[in-house]
Amino acid sequence: MRLFSLNHLIIPLLIGVLIPLTVPAATINVQPDQVKAGLFFNGETVTVTGQRDSGQPLLLLVIGPQQTQQIAPLGKHNGIWVKEEAHTLAQAPGFLAIAGSQPLNELVTLYNDTLTAAGLTSILEYLPLPPESNRTPSSNWYHAHASLLEQQSLLLPAVTLENDPNSGTFSTTIRLPSNAPPGRYQVVAFTSANDQPVVVTTHLNLIKSGIVSRLEGAALHQPVVYGISALLFALLVGWVIGVLLNRR
């Protein structure tokens, strides 16, 4: 009986001590976390919400699928603009949205090492950097890629962040355009707690669905059947309309 009473006393005490240690210094959530690109998909707005220690800085990134890209400068030769030698960019994002609680160059300076430690070195090239810092021989190429992404609404360099400095909550809405590449997106928040950088990550999937998914699957995995079907379908449409509109 005494032991039973002691347990009742000790266990809540232990829980009371342990819970504050296991509560994360920041949380992040994205809604919806799965975006389906069906036949009538025309982009979608996602909402990112979260909380961190009140008053702490925050850098929020939504990073689309990263892949190798080749970018070529255009040069004028004999009066004609032609492609020159291409440069390969490693881990170039297909989409990037950036939001911050304060000027981005301050945040980048603050979380520079954290971004590198998180394996996002290439993403640094797309963020505003203080002059002379962290420039690499490839920086100009990445900046050119950033311009091309921005032209296609695939780089959102300054998304508005709703930020409550008292409670530490934040939220933002990000528009994924219809040309956003399908795949797994990282949603990453960089903040601080107890003077230490904190990184929290969640994911967002943009997937093709319904007829769009089935057609893509057929085109990639059964190209002969897909090609013959596409041709026969075209000939059928042409024949039916040709005959219908030319009846005497």
Binding site: L39, A86, L148, A219, G238, G242, L245
Partner: protein, 308 residues
């Protein structure tokens, strides 16, 4: 505004805009017997379709539009089947040679430039020649009140070549080497430039083979039907760049447009048709020269992406 998401192009486009583009290009196909690829490719790229998907998908819609157009011209007795088969034989040989030439040019790294320059040179030459000839023919017909079809000569170098063959529908007797040779030349250019070759074939059939303009249009569409079918299969199987949703929307517009174009063409005189085609060809040529020589908005371009 209804937007449709294209499964292979991975971009969403306005439904009515695609129908209108298909209809406009189909109208030109029916009117002039050209595939319209030289016009459709830049238009699709302009609205955000990746270039490779634009070329592959327009070949698929062209198969539908050209079959629809061939039926319209066939019913009117305006398809020279015998000539079409000769051109096709040459086209198959030429396109096979052209694929090898394309691979060689691509390996050299300047295929884009070669294609653009070929476009400019060919469009410029053909457009100017047709423009001058059609104006002369128009003036001549006004003076004589006659209806002069393009070349009406009966005893020229065409009759001196071996393997003479009579083509009753076109009412010409020429060496079979001419349509086969023309087919080879257009087949090579079609493979290298990724087009049906109608804008080269139509004037060549008028001026080199001496065919009447009314027969040329239907016969050209007959040949384009086979070229477009072949390109559709090659693009779908080899590089997976045929987007059937894009092709379907374009073909719905174009099969209707081609019918209207074919009927409008039947009401126009040969020299009027040639003048209009020359005018459009020269406008496209001028636009391409402007694109090649004017400073682009961005001095960088993406070359390729790994993976799909």
């Amino acid at each position: 505004m209804i937007h449709i998401y294209l499964p292979i192009a991975e971009v969403s486009v306005n439904l009515f805009l695609l129908l209108a583009i298909g209809g406009g290009v189909g109208f030109l196909s029916g009117l002039f017997g050209v595939g319209g690829g030289f016009l459709l490719t830049p238009l699709l790229i302009f609205i955000g379709i990746p270039p490779a998907i634009a070329v592959g998908s327009e070949a698929n819609q062209l198969a539908a539009a050209s079959l629809s157009g061939v039926i319209a011209h066939w019913r009117g007795g305006r398809v020279d089947l015998r000539m079409g088969i000769m051109l096709l034989v040459g086209g198959l040989i030429g396109s096979t040679l052209g694929v090898s030439l394309f691979a060689w040019l691509r390996a050299s790294g300047q295929i884009d430039l070669v294609i653009k320059l070929l476009y400019v040179v060919l469009l410029g030459l053909i457009g100017l020649m047709m423009m001058v000839e059609s104006i002369r023919a128009n003036l001549k017909s006004r003076r004589s009140e006659a209806s002069p079809e393009a070349p009406t000569d009966t005893n020229t170098w065409r009759q001196q070549l071996p393997w003479q063959m009579h083509f009753p529908t076109s009412e010409v007797t020429i060496s079979a080497f001419l349509p086969i040779g023309l087919g080879i030349l257009v087949g090579i250019l079609a493979a290298v430039m990724g087009i049906g070759g109608g804008f080269i074939m139509v004037p060549a059939m008028i001026y080199v083979l001496g065919m009447p303009t009314a027969i040329v249009v239907g016969t050209s569409l007959f040949q384009i039907l086979f070229v477009a079918s072949n390109v559709t299969l090659q693009q779908a199987i080899r590089v997976q760049t045929v987007d059937v949703v894009l092709a379907l929307l374009l073909m719905l517009g174009s099969v209707l447009g081609v019918q209207i174009g074919a009927r409008a063409g039947a009401k126009l005189r040969g020299e009027e048709l040639r003048f209009l085609l020359a005018f459009i060809v020269l406008i496209v040529c001028g636009w391409m020269i402007y694109n090649l020589t004017s400073r682009p908005d961005f001095l960088f371009t993406l070359v390729s992406a790994s993976g799909h």
